[in-house]
């Protein structure tokens, strides 16, 4: 790295408040008005050199707009930006990069058909050839604990891996201010700790960090100061280390925090059984599935943890039917062998699925929400009345969509709004709402709250728990371990295409799940400690690949 730490800054890492120097970045009364909404209303913010500064807020609170203004994507309607005490106007992202501002976006901006090195070369304005960059990429990715292969094509990478590319790309630009938008949502607990180490090292070198997140424990662990936004305004600033998660969250949403609880429940009959599911992959960077087995009963939630890229996509596609299987018995839904059935036929057996990708898979961005309700609601077995003799009953479709919008508090212009015009969190609420309203027998969810704000996450988690309490068999694949610990009855880990045995959440510890995540199933949680009262019905039949 060719960063030149300012000696004055380097002297006082971790104690930036005492620095007499001027702030690295100061925003004064930034206001941004969009035709329908005031995104930022007189927002002021001050980031000192070497400070890790959190920006907290729900979706739609104006965090992203504010970051876009700092990064030169959007222009403020009023207010001043001071960079190192000089007033500046940041006209474009390239201008921002020239000042020394780097940003890791929540929605990635990588070209899928290019390699990692080619993407990074483009992002560095193409001045260095990918071949020359490759060793630097390797060095930086190792230094900061973010393993990335520069020669790999981006389209074969999972969300988590793509995020690593984005972070490495920014680090290569030797930024003086790094903006990170929800960076840890797809990392293992160990990787999060490593990232935090890297960020602290960066901060110690004098780089300021603006850290956007909704994970309060992370902000408390990492950040020196927090600016909380609510509805476009600063609702407060705090030292997160002196606040509780609860007080921060309440500052953020402006009211009492809803909680979700898991009442004990005896599981019902087996609704989904996977036996010895192995699947080779055509994609050189895909993950081969090896001997996966599980049983899932009505009225229970099985959480599958693991870092993305360990076979999650392949496993879910095999369950949903998007990848057909050769062995009909590899997947059983209810009492029926479903391995060779198409996604539509599996849905007819009562399967519902919330996929990881919202735009283009879970929903069609160009179509209205009503049409997106029809996307999966058409299946006759769901009995939604959307279809009669092959004809679309637009009245039923619209009232279904309106019902989902109302019950899940989806912020949109109505059922005629284009799906692509919704924010990520709102679209996810719509998709989860749609799938749960189809009276499923088996529900699959992939990353249900990825990039979703805390209020909406709670709503979605509660909806998942409600399904369980109605007797639905629920499988949640998530990279957020906290989430799985909160809502699962049992938890298992997918690593390198193999699935561990499942253990009751009550007897699982985060450290040991972390060991499983690295692919080592030999030792680990629950050894000899499985509580028979909760796993008696299902634990005995679990397949153990080890």
């Amino acid at each position: 790295m060719d960063r030149e730490p300012n000696p004055q800054e380097a002297e006082v890492p971790g104690a930036p408040d005492q620095v007499a120097a001027h702030p690295r970045l100061e925003l004064l009364g930034i206001t941004k008005v969009y035709p329908s909404v005031v995104a930022n209303d007189r927002v002021s913010l001050r980031v000192m050199p070497g400070e890790i500064h959190a920006v907290l807020g729900e979706n739609g609170a104006g965090k992203s707009t504010l970051m876009k203004i700092i990064y030169g994507v959007a222009r403020p309607d009023a207010g001043e930006i001071l960079w190192e005490n000089h007033q500046v106007g940041i006209a474009s992202p390239a201008a921002a990069r020239k000042l020394g501002i780097g940003m890791v976006f929540q929605h990635f901006s990588l070209f899928e058909t290019l390699t990692v090195a080619q993407n990074i070369s483009l992002a560095l304005d193409g001045r260095q050839s990918p071949a020359r960059l490759a060793p630097r990429i390797r060095a930086v990715s190792e230094e900061y604990g973010l393993p990335v292969d520069p020669g790999r094509l981006v389209h074969s990478m999972s969300v988590g891996e793509r995020q690593r590319v984005e972070i490495v790309r920014c680090l290569l630009q030797s930024p003086r201010l790094l903006i990170m938008d929800e960076p840890t949502s797809v990392l293992t607990p160990q990787a999060v700790l490593k990232l935090f180490e890297s960020l602290r090292r960066l901060a110690a070198e004098g780089c300021s960090i603006l850290y956007i997140s909704h994970k309060l424990d992370e902000i408390q662990a990492l950040c020196d100061r927090a600016t909380v936004l609510r509805a476009g305004r600063v609702s407060g600033t705090a030292n997160p280390k002196e606040e509780t998660s609860r007080s921060l969250a309440e500052l953020m949403i402006g009211k009492e925090l809803p909680t979700c609880t898991l009442a004990p429940r005896v599981p019902g009959e087996v609704r989904l059984a996977v036996r010895n599911l192995s699947l080779a992959t055509d994609d050189p960077f895909g993950t081969e599935l090896r001997g996966i087995g599980l049983e899932l009963c009505g009225g229970e939630i099985l959480g599958i943890a693991g870092v993305s890229g360990n076979g999650q996509q392949e496993f879910l596609k095999a369950l949903s039917g998007e990848t057909p299987l050769a062995d009909p018995g590899a997947v059983r839904i209810g009492a029926k062998d479903a391995g060779r059935l198409s996604p539509g036929e599996r849905r007819a057996l009562g399967l519902c699925f919330v996929p990881e990708e919202r735009l283009g898979r879970g929903a069609v961005p160009e179509l209205s929400l009503a049409d997106n309700a029809l996307l999966t609601g058409y299946v006759p077995a769901y009995d939604t009345g959307m279809l009669r003799h092959g004809l679309i009953q637009s009245g039923a479709v619209q009232s279904f969509a309106r019902d989902v919008i109302a019950r899940f508090k989806v912020k949109c212009g109505g059922e005629r709004s284009q799906a692509g015009s919704l924010s990520g969190g709102n679209l996810q609420k719509f998709i989860v709402g749609r799938e749960t309203s189809l009276s499923p027998k088996v529900m699959l969810l992939a990353q249900p709250t990825w990039g979703v704000d805390i209020g909406a996450s709670m709503l979605i988690r509660q909806a998942i728990i409600d399904l369980r309490d109605q007797g639905v068999a629920v499988l949640v694949v998530s990279e957020e371990l906290d989430e799985l610990m909160m809502i699962s009855d049992r938890i298992a880990v997918l690593a390198e295409g193999r699935l561990s045995r499942s253990i009751p959440v009550a007897s699982a510890s985060i450290d040991q799940i972390g060991v499983w995540m690295s692919g080592n199933f030999e030792q680990g949680p629950g050894d000899g400690a499985t509580s028979p009262s909760r796993t008696g019905a299902t634990g005995a039949v679990e397949h153990d690949p080890a």
Binding site: A94, S109, R347, L375, L391
Partner: protein
């Protein structure tokens, strides 16, 4: 410097305005071309675009030529919506004409009313059969349907040529490569005495209405649309790609086949070495100018028909080369594709210059 930036949402206004802009740009460029050819542009414009449609007979011709363009265009539009690239409608039209014509030639003495419906049915099946080949190859072997359907056009031309030079040649036709003239019962009735426009035109209108209903109200139409814009969402929802490919090809093949019967049982009245004036290819432009919507296809077919007739009129009155029709078609498609860019992009508003404290940098997209 002019820069383009992506719109956040596709512009509906531009979607509708784009064909009009393209038509206007085509007229302007065409007029300039007339000037270069030494013609008075206003007179040439009159001869090309006004005169052909200013008589009752001219309007009849306009509708007559719009008929095969509409039939083929609607079929192709349905396929294009599902992202199925059938560009072989001319071959399917030719095979439809052969199948329908064979029925007429097989029953030379039948004067009953069932003959015409049978010919139309045979034509539709003939077009479908020809369209089934690229569909099958795409599904079984993942062969590119655009190439296969295009190549099969020339095979169909050769089949027709073989038939009219050989087995189907009129024995009393002085060795001309053409079949016997069809009897009256095998000809589509004309709508108005003295005009050539026939019953195929109202049939095309029915097809437009049916296609509109299909796209808007049926699950099959919805499935095809979703597959076209978001294949991953279609797979997720359980829409079979196979079924969409089959449906697209069979529908467009059947409609092209109908158009073929409409030609041989209409203005031509027999099988000849060539039964199409490139309608199947012009229908590709028609489908896109019509925004892949059945009603739009009808309007675009009328415009395209005017280009055909105006081209003939310009050849006769202004001694223009016959290439003029193709040239105007090409201009229209060219400008349409250019104007379509602005559905998804717009000119970036000029940026205010940054204060001098900031290093002035190239504006660019977030990378």
């Amino acid at each position: 410097m002019i820069r383009l930036e992506a719109r956040t949402e596709a512009s509906q206004k531009m979607m509708l305005a784009s064909p009009l802009i393209a038509a206007l740009a085509m007229l302007v460029t065409g007029s300039m071309l007339f000037v270069f050819l030494g013609q008075d542009p206003f007179h040439a414009f009159y001869v090309y675009f006004i005169k052909p449609a200013s008589t009752v007979y001219g309007v009849g011709e306009l509708l007559l030529k719009a008929t095969p363009l509409t039939l083929c265009g609607v079929g192709l539009a349905l396929g294009f919506r599902a992202n199925v690239g059938n560009i072989g409608a001319d071959g399917q039209l030719t095979m439809g004409a052969i199948a329908g014509g064979c029925v007429a030639l097989y029953f030379p003495d039948v004067h009953a009313a069932w003959l015409l419906p049978l010919m139309l049915l045979a034509g539709a099946l003939g077009g479908m059969a020809w369209a089934a080949i690229p569909a099958l190859l795409r599904i079984r072997y993942n062969a590119n349907e655009i190439l296969v359907s295009l190549m099969l056009v020339y095979v169909a031309y050769l089949v027709l040529s073989y038939l009219v030079h050989g087995p189907l040649r009129d024995p009393e036709g002085f060795n001309f490569p053409q079949s016997r003239m069809f009897q009256d019962a095998a000809l589509l009735p004309v709508l108005v005495h003295g005009l050539r426009v026939n019953a195929a035109f109202p049939l095309a209108l029915v097809v437009v209405a049916a296609a509109w209903f299909f796209c808007d109200r049926t699950l099959a139409g919805f499935r095809m649309r979703v597959s076209g814009i978001a294949p991953a969402a279609a797979a997720y929802a359980g829409f079979s790609e196979r079924r969409n490919v089959w449906l697209s090809f069979l529908i467009s093949g059947a409609l092209a086949g109908l158009a073929g019967v409409g030609e041989v049982a209409g203005p031509i009245g027999q099988l000849q070495p060539s039964v199409s004036t490139g309608y199947g290819f012009a229908a590709i432009i028609v489908a896109y100018v019509g925004r892949l919507h059945p009603l739009g296809v009808l309007l675009a077919a009328l415009l395209m028909s005017l280009l055909y007739i105006g081209g003939e009129s310009a050849q006769m009155e202004l001694q223009m080369p016959s290439a003029i029709t193709g040239l105007f078609q090409g201009l229209l498609l060219f400008y349409l594709l250019a104007a379509d860019l602005f559905i998804y992009y717009r000119f970036k508003p000029r940026l205010k210059l940054a204060p001098p404290a900031v290093p002035v940098a190239e504006p660019g997209a977030p990378s």
